[in-house]
Subunit: 374 residues, 2 copies
C-alpha cells in the first residue's frame, strides 16, 4: 500500500466546519472568556490558532469553510478571517457543546447539497505536519462518502492521560482510503497505567476530528437523539431564508447540550458505523502552558522557550517558557522549568509541571468576582 499524496486540489464536496469555542482557561492569563485561545497567536507565527486552522483547511475544503462560534466572538472571527464567505459564520446564541454546533452545520449543508461531506476540526489545535493532515482528510472524505462516520486517530507520542483514545479494528476496503480501519470503540481519558497499555496496544488519540456525510451524521443523530435532530433540521429549514436568525433564536435553547462524542460517535462505534484514519500529523491541543512549551522552537540549552507577542524577554540561567504579551520586559533569573506569562493586566508564574492547575487560578478569580480578569 503506498501512502496517498496530499491533495493538490480541494476535496470535492468537503465543507470544513470549525467549532470555535472554549475559553482555554488553562492558558490564562492570555486566554480569556472575551478573547479565547483560538483568537491568539500561540506559536509566534504571526497567525492565531483560528487563522492557522483556516490556512490548512481552506485549500482542502472544496465546499468552503464554516465557523461555528459564540455570538460574542463572531465579529472577531470575521475580522481574523477576511476571506471567509459571507454567511459562513454561525453565531450560537449560547454554548450548547459540540453536537448542536456541528449538527446545525450539517443540517444547513445537507439542505444545500444532499451529498455534502463535512469535516469538523477545532479552531484551537496545532497541526505541525499539514501535508500529512491533508492526506488523512482526503482518506477520511473518501471513507465518509462510502457511508462511514470517520474520525482521525492521532498516533500517540506518549501515554497521555489528558486525551480519550480510539481502539482500532479491522482494515476496511475503501477506495481512496487505503489506511482506514474500523474504529472499534472510543475510551475515556485513562489513568497512567491504562494509558501505557493503550499505547502499547496501538490505540490512537481521539482529537475530536470527524469527517462524515452531513446526511449520515443527521441519520445517526436521529437514531440516538431524535429531538435534537428535529430541532436542528427545523432551524436549517429556515436558515437560508429570511427568517433564519429568528428561528435560531427561538429554537436554539431547546437544542440538547451534548458533545458529539457522546451523542453520536460512541454509540455509532458500538453499532459498527465508525471508521478511523490513523494520522501522524504532529497534532497538539495546546492544552496548557507546558504543552505550548513543547511546541515552541528550542531556544538552546539553558534557555527558556520564548513567545514574544507584545513584549520582550530576558532569561539568565533559566528554562521553561516565557510569554511576553504585556508590552513589557520580562526577566527570569535562576529558575528551571518555570512558566511566566505576562499580559497587560495580569502576570502568572507557575512551574511547568503544575501548568494544569492554572484552571484553579481561574476558578479562584471567578469566586472572587474578578470578572475583569476572566
Amino acid at each position: 500500500m503506498t501512502a496517498p499524496t496530499a491533495p493538490t486540489t480541494a476535496i470535492a464536496g468537503l465543507t470544513a466546519v470549525v467549532p470555535a469555542g472554549g475559553a482555554g482557561t488553562r492558558l490564562w492569563p492570555l486566554s480569556r472568556a472575551g478573547s479565547p485561545k483560538f483568537l491568539h497567536d500561540l506559536t509566534g507565527s504571526g497567525r492565531s490558532l483560528l487563522q492557522q486552522t483556516w490556512d490548512r483547511l481552506s485549500p482542502l475544503a472544496g465546499g468552503g469553510v464554516l465557523v461555528v462560534t459564540g455570538r460574542a466572538h463572531a465579529d472577531a472571527v470575521r475580522s481574523q478571517l477576511p476571506d471567509l464567505a459571507p454567511g459562513a459564520v454561525i453565531a450560537e446564541p449560547s454554548a450548547r457543546d459540540s453536537m448542536p454546533a456541528i449538527g446545525l452545520a450539517a443540517a444547513v449543508l445537507a439542505r444545500r447539497d444532499p451529498d455534502a461531506v463535512i469535516g469538523s476540526f477545532a479552531a484551537d489545535h496545532v497541526i505541525r505536519d499539514v501535508p500529512a493532515f491533508g492526506r488523512a482528510v482526503a482518506e477520511a472524505a473518501a471513507a465518509a462518502r462510502a457511508g462511514w462516520l470517520v474520525t482521525l486517530g492521532i498516533t500517540p507520542t506518549h501515554p497521555a492521560t489528558g486525551f480519550g483514545y480510539i481502539e482500532l479494528g479491522q482494515e476496511l476496503a475503501v477506495d481512496g482510503a487505503p489506511s482506514v480501519r474500523r474504529a472499534a470503540r472510543f475510551v475515556e481519558k485513562p489513568d497512567a497505567a491504562t494509558a501505557a497499555g493503550y499505547v502499547a496496544s496501538g490505540f490512537r488519540w481521539n482529537a475530536g476530528m470527524f469527517v462524515v456525510r452531513a446526511e449520515t451524521l443527521l441519520e445517526l443523530l436521529r437514531v440516538h437523539h431524535p429531538e435534537l435532530e428535529a430541532v436542528l433540521r427545523e432551524i436549517a429549514a429556515a436558515w437560508d431564508e429570511s427568517d433564519g436568525a429568528a428561528a435560531l433564536e427561538r429554537l436554539w435553547p431547546s437544542a440538547e447540550a451534548i458533545a458529539i462524542d457522546h451523542a453520536v460517535a460512541e454509540p455509532a462505534a458500538a453499532a459498527g458505523r465508525v471508521a478511523c484514519v490513523p494520522a501522524d500529523i504532529g497534532w497538539d491541543d495546546v492544552g496548557d502552558w507546558a504543552s505550548l512549551a513543547g511546541l515552541l522552537p528550542d531556544a538552546g540549552p539553558g534557555a527558556p522557550k520564548v513567545l514574544a507577542l507584545d513584549g520582550t524577554a530576558r532569561a539568565l540561567d533559566s528554562t521553561g517558557l516565557v510569554v511576553a504579551a504585556g508590552g513589557r520586559e520580562v526577566v527570569v533569573l535562576g529558575l528551571a522549568d518555570v512558566v511566566v506569562v505576562d499580559t497587560p493586566d495580569a502576570v502568572l508564574v507557575v512551574p511547568a509541571g503544575r501548568a494544569q492547575e492554572v484552571k484553579d487560578v481561574v476558578a479562584q478569580l471567578k469566586a472572587a468576582g474578578r470578572t475583569d480578569l476572566l
Copy 2:
C-alpha cells in the same frame, strides 16, 4: 547602668544629614536610576524610605534635617518632604560618594554654629525600633560633643557577609553616653567563616551611621584629605551667600570622590578617635529583595510576603515575596521562596536565594542599551 530613655525633646544642636543617593540596583525593577530606592515605599507603610527616615530624624534633630542628594532627585525629595526647611536640600552636581556629601554639610553647618553636631543617616535604610534608635543617637550626640567621631554599631542578627564590621574596644566614660565604647577598628565585608568569628567576638555591623561635631569631622578630614577639606570649606563660605550655587558648580568637580569610611572613619579609628554606641535597633539596609522579604509582615504559613503598592497579588501554594507595583494582578502558583516583582514596564522572577544577582540583570540591561528600564 540603666538604659537611657528615648529623648522626649530634640537633641540640642544636632542636625541630621541624610545622604540620599544610590540607585539600589539590586531592587530592580522597582528601584531605578530615575526613581531610586529611597523614594519608594518598600514596607507598605504608605511612606517612602526617605519619608520614614525623615519621620524618625525630625523629632530628634534640634538643628533640623538636611538632605544631600543628586540634582536629578532634588525636586522629588522636596516633594516627598514638604516640611523640610527651605534651603535644606543640597543638590550635588554629580555623585562623589559620601565624604564630599557629608563633609559639605558639615562645613556649611560649622560656619553657622561652631558647636554644631551632625548625625549622618542614609535615606534608604529601615529601622524598626525607633525609640531605641533615638536613645542611641542621644548617646552618640553626647559622645560627639565630647570630641569623638561616633558610629552606631548594629547588633548582628546573623553572620552577614554583606556588611563591614566594627570591633569594639574599651568602655569610655562619657556623660550621657553610658554604653559608648572605643571603636577599635573597622573591617571590610568578611567571608562567611570570618563573619561567624566576628559575631562570636561581639563585633558590630557598620551601618555607616556617624554622629560627630561638624568641626571635629572637618579637622579629621584636614588630617587625612586636606585638599578635600579646603574645597568643602570654600564652597561652604559661599553657601549662605548669593554665590553659593555658582561656587558649588565651580568647585564640586574638584572634590575627591571617596567614602567617609575610607576617608576618615578608618584612619581615625586607627588613631583612637572613634567611638561606637552599640545599637540594637532593628536596622536593615534593604539590600535586596530577599532582605525586604525578611522585613515584611508574615502572611501566614504557605503564603508569600506581599507588598501591594499598585496592584494585587494572589498566591496558591507558594512562599517568598510578591511585589505588585504594576497596577495589575500578580498570580504565583506552586513556587517556594520565589520573588516576583511587577512594575509598569518590567517584571522580574527570581528565587529569593539568588536575589543578589539582580544586579547582573541591571548590568545586562545596561549593556543592551535598555536605558529605558534602568
